[in-house]
């Protein structure tokens, strides 16, 4: 018999419960009905602040429950609970019986009783709607110049809110009652440094004070602080802590804690055995956990219990690491040395702007906790060692040289977001299930939450002996990025010189095309010039895509997908005259299939004469920049997407890269050009353009991430120039931009630092390299047609030029010719594993 589980609240934890139960409930014992107060399904609240980057709620979405056993009712709050009859009633009047009930109602921001706290312009910081409200206030603000805001509360969330305000162009004041910022996580020394670091970033910090009143004043807000300071403001955000939402439990007689929270046992069961509470609304052993990871553990426990298991809440790690306003802050374990006799070891480096503290037991043998500010790179190796022997002198753990190599014990938790231990990771690696970070993510979920454990995952991989060799192939010990730098700095222009000086043997189908691509990226002449011709992979060798029967396809460039009727007619005529199969591609252009090697130059002669150029459909190069019609025709368009797409396609045409590059430009947020599925995608906004990077379709689809918003065209192009050149210089062979970004130490943040903030100081160089490419561009096919030597290679037979290959034959399908199959190819393992 199917039983009914009712879940109240579809936040992150409610969502996880549904996922976990559906995954474990293989026999379909439970039907799940979820009631959500918010108007949208659960989203990534942890990443809420990133909403300010794109104002795209979709970017926060969690996986939808695509499942007949799950019913989700949005915008319908549960208001009544009849425990006797085991029925809930909702605001919209729905009556739903349950066999088991789970309360996952989360918490609400606490708003201190400051007079004026309900005035328009005062907000809290918890939901997407809250952020929309803040945005509306800011947009209607009357003050001239830079707007001002106040965040009440200098804890973790308050600083995050302050950063979000900065993102909206507001100078924030942070007002904290406690003696320092983040009083819960850091101590005085760390707090002092934190204050200095964030004040460099246009933030004004007021500690040891609080707001006594907020008033309306000539269309703005006036806040008075207890220390006498008065602030003229456009917006106020309260971030003074959270309170568990236990109102349902309270009203209907469940036990709640003294300081709030629905009291549960280790099975997450409330005082009613049919009712569970999980996440931020639950009070377990007197603790209310304000982090998502303990909530996820509770969800797993309840999923197990519902299926007859006996799981218990394992306890939670309250460690935090975050990057706020570019400042690393981490705190873990007994950070405040509360344990009897605990000793503190501090390294405070005012010059470098770093503060580090470890807390150890009275005999200095056991690590108890610590605090890192300014540089938290040691967090991932220190946190799992809490409660374990200190390897060596405690000072060495945090000393400037970081002398001690730390090896984690096997049961140490590596990923705290998903409670994954080192053992689990080592197991999937040793069994061969995972051979790299993406593999570990897929097998264990580790690294898919906040991402802070990813560097540790890499370390574990190498500990397991699969240091992914950086060697390109048996002929070179260098990675592609190294070879790029060698070629760039030595000025070597031929493969033979490179391999004789830096490699061994004769080369192969891996290093030859990789070097060919590097030489082409550095604009070393035509790709079929001299020795370069022998390096090119299948398709580049004849500047066309080889088909299964040995014929080729021809794809002329149609920038942005825009084409005149005259040019369309030329393509039609060429296809007709050479008997080519014709198809519209997924890249907004036309592919002509079935040409023999001898026909290629004749076909291209006609196309080039009509003004066409190579579309590089064969190259690891820029393919297409798709566009939607944009402002020119579309009633919703806010920018001219077609003109930009054409400009970008012409700018980057012919650019060779580690893998193919695709782009698209959409004229508004409706996104008809599918820009977020591209290596670099541009979406028009009222004020300019949003740039997204690292998307692709293909085998592992991935949406592109926002890297800059509301930029003008000039800035946009500058950023794309830098992005592409940085990718070309540092990516591995056949690594799309998506996996390249994932492989970067520091990921997207690092990339943004490099190409937006110029943290490596290389942007001018990258731009110059792109300018050189743009200046030197020449159509490859014209280059062949104008050079008798290159042209002479386009023959099927050296002893019978012009004779068609007798093994090729065609049949007809739907009025066009298609190849007669040469027996179904069997793809060997060697190919698949490459």
């Amino acid at each position: 018999m199917t039983r009914t589980l009712v879940v109240v609240g579809h936040g992150m934890v409610g969502h996880r419960l549904v996922e976990a139960l559906r995954e474990k409930d293989v026999t379909g014992q439970w039907r799940i009905v979820v009631f959500a107060e918010e108007t949208r399904p659960a989203y990534d609240r942890v990443a809420l602040s990133s909403y300010v980057d794109s104002w795209d709620a979709g970017s926060l979405s969690l996986a939808p429950h695509d499942d007949d056993a799950v019913e989700l009712h949005l915008d319908d709050k549960v208001v009544h609970l009849d425990r006797e009859a085991k029925v809930v009633r909702t605001q919209r009047g729905r009556v739903q019986p349950y066999d088991a009930l789970v309360l996952a109602t989360g918490s609400v921001p606490f708003v201190p009783p400051v007079p004026g706290r309900d005035l328009p312009g005062c907000h809290v910081y918890r939901t997407i709607d809250d952020l929309d409200g803040i945005r509306a206030t800011v947009e209607s603000a009357r003050s001239v110049g830079r707007h001002a805001g106040m965040v009440l509360g200098g804890g973790l969330l308050g600083l995050e809110a302050a950063n979000a305000l900065r993102g909206m162009g507001i100078s924030p004041h942070v007002v904290e009652l406690g003696p320092r910022l983040m009083p819960l996580q850091v101590d005085e020394g760390g707090g002092g440094l934190l204050k200095r670091l964030v004040e460099k970033l246009d933030l004004t910090v007021h500690t040891g004070t609080s707001a006594t009143s907020i008033e309306q004043d000539r269309g703005r807000l006036l806040a008075k602080l207890s220390n006498g300071v008065e602030l003229d403001l456009d917006v106020v955000v309260f971030s003074a802590g959270i309170r568990p939402r236990d109102e349902l439990a309270r009203s209907f007689g469940l036990t709640v804690g003294e300081r709030g929270g629905i009291v549960v046992d280790k099975a997450c069961r409330t005082s009613d055995e049919h009712i569970y509470a999980i996440g931020e609304c639950a009070n377990l052993d007197g603790m209310v956990y304000g982090l998502v990871a303990p909530g996820y553990s509770m969800a797993e426990v309840v999923a197990d219990r519902l299926l007859g298991g006996s799981a218990e809440f394992p306890g939670a790690d309250m460690s935090t690491k975050l990057k706020l306003l570019g400042v690393d802050v981490a705190s873990f374990g007994d950070a405040h040395a509360k344990q009897e006799g605990a000793l503190e070891v501090v390294v405070n480096d005012a010059v470098a702007g770093t503060y580090a503290k470890v807390v150890v037991s009275d005999d200095a043998k056991t690590l108890l906790g610590g605090i890192l500010v300014g540089d938290a790179s040691k967090y991932m190796s220190l946190r799992p060692l809490v409660g374990r022997p200190v390897p060596g002198d405690p000072v060495a753990l945090i000393g400037p040289e970081g002398g001690v190599e730390l090896t984690l014990p096997h049961d140490a938790q590596v990923c705290s977001c998903h409670a994954v231990t080192k053992q689990h990771i080592v197991d999937v690696v040793n069994s061969g299930e995972a051979v790299d970070v993406p593999g570990i993510k897929a097998c264990t979920k580790a690294g898919t939450g906040c991402g802070s454990c990813v560097p540790m995952l890499k370390k574990l991989l190498s500990e397991c002996g699969i240091e992914q060799s950086r060697a390109l192939c048996e002929h070179f010990d260098h990675s592609r990025a190294d070879l790029f730098e060698i070629i760039r700095s030595t000025g070597i222009t031929t493969f033979s010189e490179l391999i004789s000086r830096h490699g061994r043997g004769f080369g192969c189908d891996i290093c030859k095309p990789a070097v060919a691509s590097i030489l082409a990226s550095l604009d070393q002449g035509h790709v079929l010039e001299g020795e370069q011709a022998t390096l090119q992979d299948t398709n580049d060798r004849f500047l066309a895509n080889m088909q299964r029967n040995g014929t080729y396809s021809v794809v002329p460039r149609i920038p942005g997908g825009e084409i005149t009727p005259e040019k369309l007619i030329v393509i039609g005529e060429v296809a007709r005259d050479f008997g080519l199969y014709t198809k519209i591609t997924g890249g907004q252009r036309i592919d002509l299939f079935g040409a023999t090697v001898d026909q290629l130059p004749q076909i291209w002669k006609r196309l080039v004469d009509a003004g066409f150029e190579s579309g590089h459909a064969y190259g690891k190069a820029l393919r297409t920049v798709k566009s939607c019609v944009g402002t020119t025709w579309c009633r919703y368009g806010v920018q001219d997407s077609v003109s930009l797409a054409i400009e970008l396609e012409l700018r980057y045409r012919g650019l060779r890269s580690p893998h193919k590059l695709k782009s698209a430009v959409s004229g508004c947020a409706r996104e008809c050009a599918e820009a977020r599925g591209k290596d670099f995608g541009i979406i028009a906004t009222e004020n300019g353009w949003n740039l997204y990077v690292g998307g692709n379709g293909g085998f592992t689809p991935r949406h592109a991430d926002l890297i800059a918003s509301d930029v003008d065209t000039e800035t946009l192009i500058k950023l794309i120039d830098r992005f592409l050149m940085f990718y070309i210089r540092t990516a591995d062979r056949l690594q799309r931009t998506s996996t390249w970004i994932e492989s970067l130490e520091g990921g997207l943040d690092h990339l943004r630092d490099v190409i937006v903030n110029d943290s490596l100081g290389i942007c001018a160089d990258l731009e110059a390299a792109m300018a050189k490419h743009v200046d030197n561009y020449a159509d490859e096919w014209r280059g062949v047609l104008e050079d008798p030597e290159k042209l002479s290679r386009f023959t099927s037979f050296v002893n019978a030029p012009g004779t068609p290959d007798p093994t090729i034959s065609f049949r007809e399908e739907r009025g066009q010719k298609v190849p007669v199959l040469l027996g179904v190819p069997s793809v060997s393992q060697a190919e698949v594993s490459r």
């Binding site: 048996e474 002929h475 033979s496 043997g505 004769f506 080369g507 192969c508 189908d509 290093c511 030859k512 095309p513 020795e531 011709a533 022998t534 390096l535 992979d537 299948t538 060798r541 004849f542 080889m546 299964r548 029967n549 040995g550 290679r793 099927s796 037979f797 050296v798 002893n799 019978a800 004779t803 290959d805 007798p806 093994t807 090729i808 040469l822 027996g823 190819p825 069997s826 793809v827 060997s828 393992q829 060697a830 190919e831 490459r834």
Partner: protein, 106 residues
């Protein structure tokens, strides 16, 4: 033996195809080490007559051509497929006289 082309028609590590009187095709290679080889032009994995268009190089020091279709390597001197030793392509005898390359039957 059929004369197919002059040695000077070949460029190191870049194969050409030649049509033999019986309608079969050979892929002729000059390696950068200076040796000349002739193999059947049909790639056994795809059935396409394209082996001459593959990349020439070495695997562990053994000179090979790699099929442009699904990328299996074939040893230039024996025709054996290194990725699947149960398959291979025919090897044709080659002689170079007075700068002319002549190819025989496998």
């Amino acid at each position: 033996m059929t004369p197919v082309c002059e040695l000077s028609d070949l460029r190191p590590d870049q194969g050409v195809a030649a049509l033999l009187p019986d309608g079969s095709q050979v892929a002729v290679f000059l390696t950068s080490a200076g040796t000349v080889h002739a193999l059947g032009n049909i790639d056994p994995f795809s059935g396409a007559a394209v082996l001459s268009r593959g990349i020439v190089g070495d695997r562990g020091g053994v000179p090979v051509v790699v099929s442009p279709v699904y990328k299996q390597a074939f040893e230039l001197s024996t025709g054996k497929c290194l990725d699947d030793p149960s398959t291979g392509v025919p090897v044709h005898p080659v002689v170079v006289t007075d700068g002319v390359i002549q190819v025989g039957s496998p």
